[in-house]
């Protein structure tokens, strides 16, 4: 096992900068998600760490050892591919055995290790099958068993759950996490699914246009996004634009919004405030409690979407559509067209520079 340090890595393909001075420290034994839209460079970064491609500049270290010019076959990493990449000409057991047999391990050792790995992914009885006889979820497990049998220093997963349907995906998320904890391997996981990144990882790195936008534990990124992109890409956010007042912003119509955290911005600078839809409370005019020390806006319900355990209200206020998510408690049903008061605390509001 080992941590991975990526320092100032850049990689261009022609004029396109796929990675632009990216530095991330992947702690030993951690579960790390690289999140970003397609073309953000997340897969390029994973391929640099794997060794399929070398950076133009910068340093990559696995377990403290510089590897940026070491080819993949010498890096001792395990990789799971989006399409599983199982060898169709081999049985499941031979697929899993591959990494050990190319090293020339004795047959008896290989057989025992293969059984152990297949048991770990709960496919102990399917060793004799061919990959095409397995379901998508089972193939995924075989790919995982094959990647970890060589006891790699790092496990790299390239959108491993992307091809599975939703129910199976949730099951595999739990399973993957269990296996990762069990063997304690440093895991780097590329995904464009923000929910997957939030639920599975200890830390998340958000990439955009080849740059690392923000990096940290999922709660921190969710609660304290540093940019509009981070706020809207990881979860939903209402964004207010205005001028900085130092502890918040002033909207163009003069309304002040107070922020409890965020960047230090000089008064007068263009700034934005972000607030999560579930942090806003919604009241009918009459029921609105005292509004001391709170952000308060008046608006009109323009649409309500019922989603079972919650309802999403779209509230129009000064030409802007605000999103509010309310837990379904069975009482506070508001009609479309109704005048409402929105109220949320400054602690739920993050101030950031306008991008």
């Amino acid at each position: 096992m080992a941590g991975v340090q990526v320092s100032n890595v850049s990689r261009s393909f022609g004029a396109h900068k796929a990675l632009d001075d990216v530095s991330i420290d992947f702690a030993d034994g951690g579960f790390y998600a690289l999140l970003g839209p397609s073309g953000s460079g997340k897969t390029t970064l994973l391929r640099q760490i794997a060794g399929f491609d070398f950076p133009d500049s910068g340093r990559i270290a696995i377990g403290g050892e510089s590897v940026e010019r070491v080819p993949v076959e010498k890096r001792r990493i395990g990789m799971v591919f989006q399409n599983y990449a199982l060898f169709p000409n081999m049985s499941v057991a031979d697929n899993v055995a591959f990494g050990l047999s190319v090293r020339g391990e004795p047959k008896a050792v290989i057989a025992a290790e293969v059984q152990g790995a297949l048991d770990l992914v709960q496919l102990g009885k399917l060793g004799g099958r061919r990959p095409h006889q397995l379901s998508g979820g089972q193939r995924q497990r075989v790919a995982l068993a094959r990647a970890i049998i060589t006891k790699p220093r790092v496990l790299l997963l390239d959108e491993p759950l992307g091809a599975l349907d939703k129910a199976l995906r949730v099951g595999m998320q739990i399973e993957l996490k269990r296996i990762q904890r069990e063997i304690g391997i440093t895991t780097i996981f590329v995904t464009h699914d923000q929910e997957e990144a939030l639920t599975m990882s200890d830390r998340v790195g958000i990439l955009r246009d080849g740059k690392l936008v923000q990096e940290g534990p999922p709660e921190e990124i969710y609660n304290r996004p540093k940019s509009e992109f981070a706020a809207t890409f990881l979860g939903d956010a209402n964004i207010f634009r205005g001028e900085s007042t130092g502890n918040g912003i002033r909207l163009p119509d003069g309304t002040a919004i107070f922020a409890g955290s965020g960047a230090n911005l000089a008064p007068g600078a263009k700034a934005i405030c972000a607030v999560r839809p579930e942090r806003i409370r919604i009241f009918t005019d009459a029921a609105a409690p005292d509004t001391a020390n709170a952000n308060v806006l008046r608006g009109e319900v323009s649409k309500r979407i019922f989603a079972g355990n919650s309802s999403t209200y779209f509230v129009e206020r000064g030409g802007q559509m605000l999103k509010v998510i309310v837990q379904n408690t069975g009482v506070d049903k508001l009609a479309e067209g109704q005048e409402v008061v929105l109220r949320w605390s400054p602690e739920s509001t993050v101030l950031m520079a306008a991008s």
Binding site: I77, P88, G99
Partner: protein, 289 residues
């Protein structure tokens, strides 16, 4: 249930008939009828066209066994077929690999065109241009002597190697094309997965790439082996006196000696031998695929 399935497949066949008919009609007229005529000839003492009296006989077939020459030549032709097939694999497979897995875009198209080019030139022209290259004082001889500091004498014309060179040149595109198709179908991520597991390039080739491209190798080998065993043009022109093979003897019966019955009989013996070889090899090949 079974009757239903049978009925369904019958009606499927009926609707497919208009699509199948042209090809099978053509095959019947162009191949089956002449072949039947040849079977008929091979059982005659004389060609009926010559006006001489004729009778049915098996002598044309027994001739093959009464003279050891025919068997010797057949074995030589089979060996030629094996060697040419092997050389086509050695030359064609790496080229197919590079085309399918290394080159991309324009350069792939250009190289591909060069591979297919022999198909577009006349076979006879191709063979005679090899003659220009291989003979003493020919292009190869002159070029090598111009480059090398010492005098060497290259005269490959009218030799076994010349026959091999000519045949490999004619047939290697088949191997390149069939292998290219199967190699291209191998997902690049399989190769990456193998490398990430620590496999060397040679190990990947042996354990993943060759097994997965086996159908292409087998198809290419079958496409090359069968016609090469019966080939006569390349052996005759490039082999000269050393180029006597089973195929040239058959050709002689038709164009020189006018003993069509014997030529036909020898052809059918060759056909039978090739079919037996393919039948014996097919379980092995099927397992490989």
């Amino acid at each position: 249930m079974a009757a239903q399935v049978a009925a369904a497949s019958r009606s499927g066949l009926r609707s497919a008939l208009p699509l199948l008919a042209p090809a099978y009609l053509w095959l019947t007229v162009a191949i089956f009828l002449p072949l039947s005529a040849m079977v008929f000839f091979s059982l005659m003492t004389e060609l009926p066209l010559s006006g001489k009296p004729w009778a049915f006989t098996l002598e044309n077939y027994t001739a093959f066994f009464s003279q050891s020459l025919y068997l010797t030549l057949l074995l030589a032709s089979l060996r030629l077929g094996l060697e040419v097939t092997l050389w086509c694999i050695i030359v064609g497979y790496p080229a197919a690999y590079v085309l399918a897995k290394v080159l991309k875009g324009r350069s792939r198209e250009a190289i591909f065109l060069l591979v297919i080019l022999p198909f577009w030139s006349n076979g006879l022209v191709r063979i005679f241009s090899w003659a220009m290259v291989l003979r003493e004082g020919g292009i190869l001889d002159t070029a090598l002597n111009a480059v090398l500091p010492f005098k060497i004498n290259i005269d490959l014309m009218y030799s076994y190697p010349a026959v091999i060179i000519g045949l490999v040149h004619s047939y290697v595109p088949y191997m390149v094309l069939t292998c290219y198709l199967t190699l291209q179908a191998i997902d690049d991520s399989l190769i990456e997965a193998g490398r990430s597991l620590g496999a060397s390039r040679l190990q990947m080739l042996k354990r993943v790439i060759i097994p997965l491209s086996m159908p292409g190798l087998v198809a290419g080998a079958a496409l090359i082996f069968v016609p090469v065993v019966g080939s006569f043009m390349e052996p005759r022109i490039l082999g000269g006196r050393t180029g006597t093979f089973y195929g040239t003897v058959i050709e002689d019966q038709f164009v020189a000696v006018f003993n069509w019955p014997l030529g036909a009989a020898l052809s059918f013996i060759l056909l039978a031998v090739v079919l037996v070889i393919l039948a014996v090899a097919s379980p092995v090949l099927r397992r490989a695929m």
